[in-house]
Symmetry: C2
């Protein structure tokens, strides 16, 4: 099937999905969860093919771990669908309803986006997650997964579709593009006629390719060069705990800390403690000249380091003379994901909140909390680092748009 045909099929069922009741959608999700369990043997066998191919081609152990499925992981995917079934349906909510002087009644109602496209990399569990969120919010979803997980994704989509059919629901609610040709992916990115929004999930390279090539509106997600600024009034223990958590609790994620900004006044006392704490996880510190002169064991940073998302046990460190200098540095190099200040000063805390331009700005807490579950949404389709439509963690509501509905009784414009 061509990408064009896939898009057309998806568009054709948006009217059915858009008016499905919540209970019917929840039935579909429960049925899809059951089907994943029924198909587990087949899904695991398909996944084994992907893992063998990846091993042969020399993929590193970390990536293979992300690619590999187990019975438990399939169980977790099914549980994920059940959790989404338990969430409140965002569709149909009225954001406003008012009467106008001419007698018109104008309401703004939440409706599905229509067709959501998702382009993502190796982790096959995204396939079921993305389907669950899109389906619950009344959207058809078209997935383009990474070629490394192709066999796994084909099997997962097949069983999700079986689940939908079993519940009497359109199986084209989820479709997978299986052609791995790059030109096909480009064609997908220009399918504006059928696809309402495109969400890339993956590394900076993937996201840039989508932004550069798509004519469909894109929600940019994910890249995080997150800073922690230690103000001169910071509680040292709190600062050390937060930095250690934000850097090392999980290194491969977009809300982990990649760069520290330290106030000059406290640097001589704070840097040795920092070095000691981060040495517990052998974190490499790439610092500016001033910090290197205080701590010769630090690696000298280059200009490139300030903008880098390491996703590794590495962080950059810059010393500043004031909160203004800290804010300027952060606003210059940040990817506008998550930024934190550690301070005891009320004025500085407010200044940082107001002037740092990012999706999430923290006072005295770890940047690792930027996450749909931690924010209480019960789900997450990604973290938007752009300003249009949605900013920060995106849950079900962010997969919807609105429609104005107007009740009249013959009004014409004078």
């Amino acid at each position: 099937m061509t990408v064009h045909e896939i898009g057309k099929k998806a568009k054709e069922i948006t009217n059915i999905l858009g008016i499905l009741g919540s209970e019917k959608k929840n039935q579909g999700l429960r049925s899809a969860a059951e089907a994943l369990i029924s198909g587990a043997t087949e899904i695991l066998a398909a996944n084994q093919k992907d893992v063998e191919k990846a091993t042969k081609s020399g993929m590193n152990a970390g990536l293979i771990d992300r690619l590999e499925l187990t019975s438990d992981r399939i169980g977790a995917m099914a549980d994920g669908l059940l959790s989404v079934a338990a969430l409140e349906d965002p569709v149909g909510e009225f954001l406003s309803m008012k009467n106008r002087p001419n007698g018109l009644t104008i309401g703004q109602k939440r409706v599905p986006l229509g067709v959501v496209g998702i382009i993502y990399e190796a982790r096959p569990n995204v396939t079921a997650d993305a389907f669950g969120l899109c389906f619950k919010s009344g959207n058809a979803v078209i997935l383009k997964g990474g070629s490394d997980a192709l066999e796994s994704n084909i099997a997962i989509v097949k069983w999700l579709q079986i689940g939908l059919s079993d519940a009497g629901l359109p199986q084209d609610s989820i479709q997978l593009i299986t052609d791995t040709d790059r030109e096909v992916t480009k064609e997908f990115m220009r399918l504006r006629e059928y696809v309402d929004v495109l969400i890339p999930r993956g590394g900076a390279g993937l996201i840039k390719a989508v932004v550069d090539n798509s004519t469909i509106p894109v929600i940019e997600t994910g890249t995080g060069n997150c800073h922690v600024f230690v103000d001169e009034s910071a509680d040292f223990n709190m600062a050390l705990d937060i930095i250690f958590n934000a850097k090392t609790q999980r290194i491969g994620v977009c809300n982990s800390c990649e760069s520290l900004v330290i106030h000059r006044e406290i640097a001589p006392k704070f840097l040795p403690l920092l070095k000691e704490r981060l040495s517990l996880k052998s974190v490499e510190i790439r610092a500016d000249k001033e910090a290197c002169s205080l701590e010769p064991s630090f690696v000298p940073a280059t200009e490139e380091d300030w903008g880098k998302e390491y996703l590794d046990y590495i962080l950059s460190l810059k010393i500043v003379g004031s909160i203004d200098e800290a804010i300027n540095h952060i606003n210059q190099y940040s990817t506008r994901h998550s930024e934190a200040i550690i301070t005891s000063d009320y004025g500085n805390s407010q200044k940082f909140l107001n002037e740092v331009d990012a999706a999430a700005v923290y006072i005295n807490a770890s940047t690792r909390f930027t996450d749909g579950y931690e924010f209480g949404f019960g789900a997450e389709i990604g973290i938007s680092t752009q300003k249009l439509h949605a900013r920060g963690p995106m849950g079900l509501k962010e997969l919807t748009t609105t429609k104005y509905i107007i009740y009249g009784n013959g009004q014409v414009r004078p």
Copy 2:
């Protein structure tokens, strides 16, 4: 100055604009309004140059009328800025604020987008309007107007900047790209580093060029192939009044009616009345075979007619056998702007509201009401026909985004 330099300058002042108090912004708007009046002679002289050039090059009278400024029109531009000053400031509103079980307090606050780019065609009054809305919502704006209005725009922007300076505010809050080279416009559309959103205002060709070339997130505005569906239960007089209003009250606008869909049951009785009413404004009706056989004076429609935005005294007409056929036809050819049903049937009214996919869906009212002022926003930067970020008329709120602010006391992620 290069486009890159203009972008950089705009970005640099976003921090100042983002935290300006409402009263300071209103002062700026009042001062800019005064400056427009002070500069009226110079603005009119510049406009005369544009008008002379356009006349020589053979521009039609309608377009020249849109281009031409008068003292009254400059007065109206100044009044527009004063009206915007009187509107509520959207910046700083909290959409939510909640405590999490771990003691974090998470708030979602409305903040400016940052830098807004607007690409528009000949009408020079857009220059002042767009500035007013962007400035009030805390954004820097970069304008790229049509070359036909270049001298006018240069003069208007000069005096708006004088007004800002007089009020002690950054004059780069509004900047104009004066280089008319197409490559410069393309460069502007790829200035993602500095520009947060791009809003094209103009005809379908301009909008398509922006959508195809921009890497900056775009809000698509304006094109409207709006339908009115006359259901079999419609009140004929109401239908005739609404169609006449929606088609002829103002022909050159995106919310005017371009296509009629008529239920077969009423066609024989309704078409003669329709023909009579529309003949008052000599409207050409391009109809399908069935309608042409009932009314031989109708012009036979081609496939191309169904998707056409005429912006003229022309409309297309299709006969259908059911509301489902009407909805399918509308969803196939609509630009998702504004669609109306004329009906006395409760079930059909609800079905139409639910199943027609458009920014604004009307029961028994003219599509001409889709407008920021008519919806009670007090202003309008355009009408979004896409689903991302904003859908329908966009006022001040739609020129903002949100930021999560998180108050902690040392929380780390377990």
